[in-house]
């Protein structure tokens, strides 16, 4: 009797979680089901009457389409390089600004600023103001050293996109690592210094192990966002020259909203979903561990 009355009392509060659950369920299931359905259809927005079931033909089309494999390679290169740059430089810079020095607060503000710049602005500022081969800032520096200015987006399109995206995401890594370093045991470090440990030894045996988990978090979270990079490519190279900077999201966009091929775009979209989920499985496991690790605290 008491059990049923308790349930009746508790139930309404549990219902407070339902709107969020239902909304997200709809947001995930409905479009995803439609994507799966469309991916088996011949469906072009220009000829809406002609849609028909074609089985796996859209996937076959995508998998034999040379641009598709280029876009997968570009996606992997983009995500991989930006991750490597942000983690390596993120760790080095965080260690550099961790110890107190005059103006520490200001320097940290300067360092994290790019993260708050919207992607379209970041991309256009880099393309026009910095990387323009004639009057960009980098061209001026190159000439000052007697070198020929690099025509960034024409000659090194993917590298240019990687640099812009890395600039946007390095602050995220710094933000996380600086926060993590603050929770490091200072006394342990000081004791090591007293014992004559060199900076490298401290970094190798104290700092890096301490940063292990934050590094994993940065890699996972960034991977999710980097698999979706779109605006930076949209405003700088539009996927080109050729398909040199076309990644999977951009290819799906061109199929869907430029060629109006809904079927092919949906097939490509599902490939992107699979790619993201491979990364997601690891992230969920990681976050799930931290949830269990501290779940003893509440109630």
């Amino acid at each position: 009797m008491s059990a049923s009355s308790r349930r009746a009392r508790v139930q309404p509060e549990r219902l407070l979680g339902q709107p969020a659950v239902v909304l997200l369920l709809l947001w995930m299931i409905v479009p995803l089901a439609m994507t799966v359905y469309f991916s088996t259809q011949y469906f072009n927005l220009l000829y809406p009457k002609k849609s028909s079931f074609v089985g796996l033909e859209n996937f076959a089309y995508f998998f034999t389409y040379p641009s598709f494999w280029t876009s997968v390679l570009n996606t992997v290169l983009l995500v991989g390089s930006v991750l490597a740059i942000t983690v390596v430089f993120g760790v080095l810079i965080s260690v550099l600004v961790d110890e107190h020095f005059p103006g520490q607060g200001i320097v940290r503000m300067l360092l994290v600023s790019p993260f708050f710049i919207m992607p379209t602005v970041a991309a256009l500022a880099w393309k026009n103001l910095l990387m323009n081969p004639v009057s960009g800032f980098f061209a001026w520096i190159a000439r000052a050293f007697g070198a020929t200015p690099v025509n960034w987006f024409a000659d090194w399109p993917l590298l240019s996109v990687i640099l812009v995206v890395a600039w946007e995401w390095l602050p995220f890594a710094i933000l996380i690592f600086v926060t993590a370093l603050q929770s490091m045991d200072r006394e342990q470090k000081e004791a090591a210094q007293m014992d004559g440990a060199r900076a490298w030894a401290i970094f190798r045996y104290l700092t890096l192990p301490h940063l292990g988990r934050p590094i994993a978090v940065v890699v996972m979270v960034e991977a999710i966002f980097l698999l979706n990079v779109f605006a930076e490519i949209f405003v700088t190279t539009n996927g080109g020259p050729g398909d040199a900077t076309t990644n999977v999201p951009f290819l799906v966009y061109t199929q869907a909203l430029l060629e109006f091929d809904v079927g092919a775009a949906s097939a490509g979209g599902l490939v992107a979903v699979v790619l993201a989920n491979i990364v997601a499985v690891f992230l969920i496991r990681l976050i799930g561990q931290s949830l269990t690790a501290r779940s003893g605290a509440p109630s």
């Binding site: 550099l96 708050f116 992607p119 379209t120 970041a122 979270v221 605006a231 509440p298």
Partner: protein, 289 residues
């Protein structure tokens, strides 16, 4: 201090101290150099926004010039900046408000009335964040088109809310979970209902956390570019789309591009500076503190 160092002559100790001093100075200089280098593109953009178009395009680049507000004047008049700024404010603000209305009750239920399924529900919510936009671009585009919501602020508000909802629920959940259960129990004992507990106990205690959650959602929605570029054309287009429209007339309007970019980024940059510490929690789903 180890005994050997105290036995050494004072001159060695002094050189060691000066060497450490030098190392510290070099370190500070290096930190400043890196900070300024990272910030340089933003600073350069800000500087360019006060130049004339001719100065903006000049080689070598001009560092000394007479600052002009002409670009800002023209942007405000001609590019219809205020229309786009209004769209940004309405969509980002609306998504934040709606998101908080849904996320706070959900986080409350998960934190204080967990069931056996709460943990997996939370992880599942996080997993929806992993759904790439392109995976659902086509259906969302078609749904928006068929409901006449294409190029509407309503569609953007809904999409931004749904995209950010998992992060918001998680972030508020981590704040609620840190509230000692005793306080909530005590309120219950005093006869406070759910609404009273939420309003009189939790909201005041977690004010800072809720504010930074709202701020994070505002920042993410304001800067969101994938959906705003694909779901809007002109009527509902926010600032991120206005800036993108400058990508076609290449190189000719650098000063104006810089002015509009500065206007689009400045408010969010300031908010970001103010809340950087708290944002870490939301951005890592509480996995790094």
């Amino acid at each position: 201090m180890s005994p050997t160092s105290s036995q050494k002559p004072s001159s060695t100790r002094r050189t060691r101290r000066t060497r450490r001093q030098l190392a510290r100075t070099l370190r500070a200089l290096a930190a400043w150099a890196v900070g300024l280098a990272m910030f340089f593109p933003i600073a350069w953009m800000l500087l360019t926004s006060f130049k004339t178009e001719l100065e903006a395009f000049s080689t070598p680049p001009r560092f000394a010039f007479e600052p002009t507000l002409e670009n800002y004047r023209q942007i405000l008049e001609r590019a219809n900046y205020l229309h786009y700024a209004f769209n940004s404010i309405v969509t980002a603000g609306g998504a934040t408000l709606l998101g908080m209305l849904v996320a706070v009750p959900a986080a409350y239920a998960f934190a204080f009335h967990p069931t056996a399924r709460t943990r997996s529900t939370l992880l599942w919510m996080l997993s929806t964040k992993m759904l790439p936009g392109v995976g659902v671009l086509v259906p969302i585009y078609l749904l928006a088109r068929d409901t006449n919501l294409l190029d509407s602020r309503t569609a953007l508000i809904l999409v931004f809310t749904l995209v950010n909802l998992p992060i918001m629920v998680w972030m508020i959940y981590t704040y609620f979970r840190d509230v000692p259960a005793d306080i909530v129990e005590a309120a219950k004992m005093d006869g406070a209902g759910t609404w009273e507990t939420l309003r009189d106990v939790l909201l005041p205690v977690c004010r800072g956390g809720l504010a930074s959650t709202a701020l994070l959602c505002l920042i993410l929605s304001w800067n969101e570019s994938f959906w705003s570029l694909n779901l809007t054309t002109s009527h509902a287009a926010p600032l991120s789309a206005l800036v993108a429209s400058f990508s076609s007339p290449e190189g000719l309007f650098w000063a104006k591009l810089s002015a509009v970019s500065t206007l689009a980024c400045a408010p969010i940059l300031v908010l970001g500076w103010l809340s950087q510490r708290q944002l870490v929690r939301g951005l890592t789903f509480g996995a790094v503190k």
